[in-house]
Every structure is written in structure tokens, then in C-alpha cells.
């Protein structure tokens, strides 16, 4: 067997999977997006840009997604970084495995079940009732953008913690000692050594969380009470309620394009950051 054949064979499973499960469906969606809604719902083939011209009708869904996805990602980062830092640098190694497992434990239960728990916690008999005992009355949490944000951060935190943890764990501790030997204060060491070296982890974590959030459907549906509407929710409605597959496909294609553009810009930025860092380290 030649090297070439072997390479093809190795690629075959993934290649077939991508072709059947990704490329073909995406092509179908693209074709549908130029079609029209059939009278009783579904799609009839056509070649019209009408569905794309109608996109502004879902502006609010795109706006909500493009606001809450970055806010959710950044909030998760701010919460996850100290935790990952603690786990990788500060904690006694004998506890590390147990603590890491604890970070994953929530994943053992379905996000659906955990979101139901949040419905109760954020509902009138949960946290607001608790606040009521302390004299803070009339707090409404459930079915607000805040509730959705809480659900998002809670659900995606482990995805942020792990990449950052890995990059901090690999960090050569001798560099920190060297920095301190050369007279740098801990804060300066963190900003000039630790943080730049953990950028790959931050970048991976942010991208993982952001991409998943852009397609999020469940958390806004459950904690937003049908009032906090993501593109994912608009898509479900278009396919399952109003059965306008053509328009739904156009919205889906647009979401994919928006994501591709955002992620490309993001990668460029990260690469530039990385490049700058290399310059610094060369100097």
C-alpha cells in the first residue's frame, strides 16, 4: 500500500461523514434558501432572492444573538480564567484531579434537566423569594435576558475552563521564577508571562463557547420564556411552526455566513496577537 493510498484510507471515515452529514445537507439548505414557501408549508423550488430580502424581519433575533453571545463568552472567560489559574498553578497537585472532575460533573446530567433546575432557582419561589427575606422585594429573574445569560455562563463554563487550564498547566514554571528573580512583581509577571502564554487557551475557549452560543436554542427557549429570541429559536419556529423552509434556510445560511466572517476576523486578530508575542519573545 502506498503512502498516498494509506492517507486516503485514513481520511475516508471523516471525509465520508463530512460529505454526508455536512456538505450535502448544507447544499440542500442553500438550494432551499432560493425557493419559496409551499402553500401548506415546506418548500417549492424556485430561484428568487425574496427570502434574503426578507432577512430584516429577523433583525431582532440576530441582534440578540450577536449581543448575548459575545457577552456570554466574555463573562464565561472572566469567571473561568481565575478558576483555571487556581487549578493549574495554585492548587496542591494531589487535589487537582478531584477538582477537575468536579468541573466536569455537571456534564453528567443533561443540559435540559439542569436548565429546568434554573427555571426553579430563578423563578418566583427561588432566588427572588430568598432576596425577599432580606427585604429586597419584587426582583424578577426568570424569562429575562439576565436569566438567559446565567444559563449560558453556567452551561458553557467548563468549555472555557479546560482549554485555559491546559495552556496554564503546560506553562513552564521556571519562567515565573526567572521573572521574579529579575525583580518583577507578581502582577507584572502575570501580565507579561502568564497571560500572554495562556492566550492559545483563551482563544480556543472563547471560540468554542462563542460558536456554540451563536447556534444556541435551548437555554433562551427555557430561561427566556419565549421572549429572549436567538437565531436558533427563529430557525426552530420557521421550520416547525410557520413551516417556511425557504425563509428558514435563508436565515440559516445567513447565520453560517455571519459566523464564518466573525470567526475569520477573530482568528486574524488572534494570529496577530500571537505574532506580536513572538516579536516580544525574540527581543
Amino acid at each position: 500500500m502506498t503512502q498516498r493510498t494509506r492517507n486516503w484510507l485514513l481520511l475516508a471515515p471523516a471525509g465520508t461523514w463530512f460529505l454526508v452529514m455536512l456538505i450535502i445537507p448544507l447544499t440542500v439548505v442553500l438550494i432551499f434558501s432560493f425557493g419559496e414557501r409551499a402553500p401548506a408549508g415546506g418548500v417549492v423550488p424556485a430561484f428568487t432572492l425574496e427570502q434574503y430580502a426578507n432577512l430584516p424581519a429577523r433583525w431582532a433575533a440576530f441582534k440578540n444573538t450577536m449581543t448575548l453571545a459575545p457577552i456570554g463568552t466574555l463573562s464565561a472567560l472572566v469567571i473561568a480564567y481565575p478558576l483555571a489559574y487556581f487549578l493549574a498553578v495554585k492548587v496542591d497537585p494531589k487535589w487537582r484531579t478531584i477538582l477537575l472532575v468536579l468541573v466536569i460533573v455537571p456534564f453528567w446530567t443533561s443540559i435540559l434537566i439542569r436548565s429546568y433546575a434554573w427555571i426553579f432557582l430563578l423563578g418566583g419561589r427561588g432566588i427572588p423569594a430568598l432576596l425577599g427575606w432580606f427585604g429586597i422585594e419584587g426582583v424578577r429573574l426568570i424569562n429575562t435576558p439576565f436569566a438567559v445569560l446565567v444559563g449560558i455562563i453556567y452551561g458553557y463554563l467548563p468549555l472555557m475552563v479546560f482549554p485555559i487550564y491546559v495552556s496554564l498547566d503546560k506553562l513552564d514554571k521556571k519562567l515565573l521564577e526567572a521573572s521574579s528573580d529579575l525583580g518583577a512583581k507578581p502582577w507584572r509577571t502575570f501580565l507579561q508571562i502568564t497571560l500572554p502564554l495562556s492566550i492559545p487557551g483563551i482563544a480556543t475557549g472563547c471560540m468554542l463557547v462563542f460558536i456554540l452560543l451563536m447556534g444556541e436554542y435551548l437555554i433562551p427557549a427555557m430561561l427566556g420564556g419565549g421572549k429572549v429570541f436567538f437565531v436558533g429559536n427563529a430557525l426552530v419556529d420557521l421550520f416547525l411552526q410557520s413551516r417556511n423552509w425557504a425563509y428558514g434556510s435563508a436565515v440559516a445560511v445567513t447565520l453560517v455566513v455571519v459566523m464564518l466572517v466573525t470567526v475569520t476576523i477573530y482568528m486574524r486578530l488572534i494570529n496577530r496577537l500571537g505574532a506580536n508575542r513572538d516579536d516580544v519573545s525574540i527581543m
Binding site: 401548506a40 408549508g41 424581519a57 419565549g226 421550520f239 416547525l240
Partner: protein
């Protein structure tokens, strides 16, 4: 059932169950050896609802039947009884709207054997070729003359029977009177006005265009079924104006009504009955301007994978004794006179189940065009994403 150990030890039972699972023995052998068959036969004789009727006395109908239905809509013990009598396990899929059911069937291969379409959807299913005509010879418990025609006629299209009546009901509102000085409200006008005022942040509308847009149309005195563009524009303006004051847009409104987060909701009568039974200060009322009256049916989708089991299940649920238990569980009125006769008097006289005729007369049956109208669908989507 505690005497089962007399016939067979636990260990032996598990061995036999293992064999049955592996397929090395038949269901009949399994039931005989374990004594479960005898137990079922005894129970079946004691309870008329369990007596095998001709539809499934003939033989094996398979090990399961898939039912697509609505939330809080059956008595689970009836399904257990069906499984004991026939060996077929009832797998229940719960849906939120007729649109969703239609969308799943349009997408193909739903895997359902029985589903529960509402009156105004049946002609669309027939047009789209998604529904099987019913063979009444397999439905010995179906007696057309027993049903009130008003709630049965949508089951036939062009003289062919496609669906048999399950129950009927109305779409009104449930209000927690404790927050309104003990007073209920009585009209859709009041519903949307109080939602923007005293009940701000406490009201819910369905995540369902038919009822939510219909109620907003009723506010202006328009028809629940209107597809008139100017009237729909009024309804949209009202809904978008109300939206910031809503607690939620959801068809699963019982939990928030029960825990006190919400005080007012568009409500199907059976949910209204369930809520009122448990929390008496929650009243169910019909809008004075009108609203919806509807009838749900049992039907079999085209290409149902377990057709025999589908007929067996529908026939079982049409048995008046079984159906009476269903009514007591879901709280929707029955169109079947035989079942009605078996209901306790307090249900027969219940004002939520069987409202006075003058309250029912302004109500409208939903129309097929109301469900499939693209403008209404798009209006709902705009309202939700606003």
C-alpha cells in the same frame, strides 16, 4: 400480584425474561410461564375496559405503538392496562402545536402510529396525503351515532372517515383571582388591558399563532379566524404593544400559574379544569367576544409502522369505560354520549367542562385556512422576535 412468587421464583422469572428478550421464546410462552398472562386474563375479565376486544384478540400486534399527542392529555394507567392486555408498550411523544405535528409529518418518517390532530388540520392532512382512511371494521368500539355531530364532523372529508373524536374543549383564559380582588375577568379586551396595567409581567400568551393571534383579533371584535390583512395588522400592533408586559410566550403555562409567577394566561379548558381543581382561586373563563371551540381526534398517519397496534390502541381508547377514565384525567369534555353517561355527576354538571350554551355560542371552530395562512404564521414569528 403478590402471589406471583407461588408460580415462579424471581430468579426463574429473570431467566425467562432474558430468554424472551433474546427472542428464543414467544411472548405467549413468556406470559404463560411467568403467570403474567393469567394475571392479565383475570384482570381483563374483572375490568371491562381491559377485556380484549376483537381488534387485538386475534394475535400479536407487536411490542409497541407510538402515540403523538398533547401535554397532560391521557390517563397513564390506561396505557399500562393496554400494554398488559396486548403486550404493546405505548410510547408517547408530546407536542406543543398542530403546526409542529404537521411539520414533522411533512418532513417524512415520523414513526408515529397514532396522532391527535385538531379539527381544522384534518382536511390539510388529507390534501397533503399524510393521513390514512380509517377501517371501521377494526374499530368495534366506534359508534358514529354516539357522537355529537358538532364534534365529530371534521373527522370525515368528502364522505371518507379519517379520524374519530377524542374530546373537545374551548380556549379561554385562566386568571388567578387572588390578585384581582377575588374578581375574574371576562373578556379578551380586559385580558390585554389588564396585562399592560395591573398584571404587567404576570400574563402569558400561547406559543401558538392560532390562539394567540385569535385572542388578539377577538380584542377588536374581529373573527378568531380572520386572515384579513388590516385586521391582522391591528392584532400585531396590540401583541407587540403587550409583549414587554408579558411574563412568557409559552404553551406550557401550568407550572408558572401553579407556582404563582404568572397570574393570567390564555388557557385550554382542560388545563383550566386541572388548575381550578388544585387551586380554586384560579378561574377558567371564556372571553365574552368569543374565542375558540375545538375538537381533537384520533387518526393514523400514512405509513404508520405498527398499523395493527394503532387500530388496537384507538379502539381501546374509544371504549367508554377507558374513555371515562381519560376524561377524568385530562378534564376535557367528551363528545361520546356513552362515555358521558359513565361520568360522575359533578363532572357532568361542571361549568368548565360543559359551559352554558350562551357562553359557547360566540365561540368559533378554527378553520383550515387559519392554520396554514402564511401571514398569520409570519405575524407570530415577528411578534416573537420583536
Amino acid at each position: 400480584m403478590t402471589k406471583d412468587s407461588d408460580y415462579i421464583s424471581k430468579k426463574k422469572f429473570m431467566e425467562e425474561l432474558g430468554r424472551y428478550r433474546k427472542g428464543s421464546i414467544t411472548r405467549r410462552h413468556f406470559l404463560n410461564v411467568t403467570g403474567l398472562g393469567a394475571a392479565t386474563a383475570v384482570m381483563g375479565a374483572a375490568m371491562p375496559g381491559l377485556r380484549p376486544s376483537p381488534a387485538f384478540a386475534g394475535g400479536n400486534i407487536g411490542d409497541r405503538v407510538v402515540l403523538a399527542t398533547w401535554p397532560n392529555y391521557h390517563d397513564p394507567s390506561n396505557f399500562e392496562a393496554f400494554t398488559e392486555a396486548t403486550g404493546a408498550h405505548v410510547q408517547v411523544n408530546v407536542f406543543g402545536s398542530n403546526e409542529e405535528m404537521l411539520a414533522k409529518l411533512q418532513a417524512g418518517a415520523s414513526g408515529w402510529d397514532v396522532y391527535v390532530p385538531t379539527n381544522y388540520t384534518i382536511s390539510t392532512y388529507v390534501d397533503e396525503g399524510l393521513i390514512e382512511p380509517l377501517d371501521t371494521s377494526k374499530l368495534s368500539n366506534y359508534d358514529a351515532s354516539a357522537f355529537d355531530a358538532r364534534y365529530a364532523e371534521a373527522g370525515s372529508v368528502d364522505g371518507t372517515l379519517y379520524a374519530v373524536p377524542k374530546d373537545w374543549g374551548s380556549t379561554g383564559m385562566a386568571v388567578n383571582t387572588a390578585h384581582n380582588d377575588g374578581k375574574p375577568i371576562s373578556s379578551w379586551k380586559e385580558f390585554f388591558d389588564i396585562s399592560r396595567d395591573k398584571f404587567s409581567g404576570r400574563s402569558m400568551v400561547h406559543d401558538y399563532q392560532l390562539t394567540t393571534i385569535g385572542s388578539a383579533l377577538n380584542y377588536f371584535g374581529y373573527s378568531f379566524n380572520s386572515v384579513d390583512e388590516a385586521e391582522l395588522a391591528d392584532a400585531e400592533k396590540l401583541l407587540i404593544d403587550v409583549k414587554p408586559h408579558l411574563f412568557a410566550i409559552t404553551s406550557d403555562y401550568q407550572p408558572s400559574m401553579r407556582n404563582g409567577d404568572a397570574w393570567l394566561t390564555i388557557c385550554w379548558s382542560g388545563d383550566g379544569k386541572q388548575l381550578n381543581t388544585d387551586i380554586p382561586e384560579i378561574h377558567y373563563v371564556l372571553g365574552a367576544e368569543g374565542g375558540e371551540i375545538w375538537s381533537d381526534y384520533y387518526a393514523i398517519p400514512k405509513g404508520a409502522p405498527h398499523s395493527d397496534a394503532a387500530y388496537a390502541l384507538i379502539n381501546f381508547l374509544l371504549d367508554p369505560t377507558v374513555n371515562a377514565k381519560e376524561v377524568m384525567a385530562h378534564g376535557y369534555p367528551t363528545a361520546d354520549a356513552r362515555t358521558f353517561a359513565l361520568l360522575p355527576d359533578e363532572l357532568k354538571n361542571d361549568p368548565i367542562l360543559f359551559p352554558a350554551q350562551e357562553l359557547l355560542s360566540p365561540l368559533e371552530f378554527g378553520a383550515a385556512a387559519t392554520l396554514t395562512d402564511p401571514n398569520r404564521a409570519e405575524l407570530m414569528a415577528r411578534f416573537k422576535s420583536a
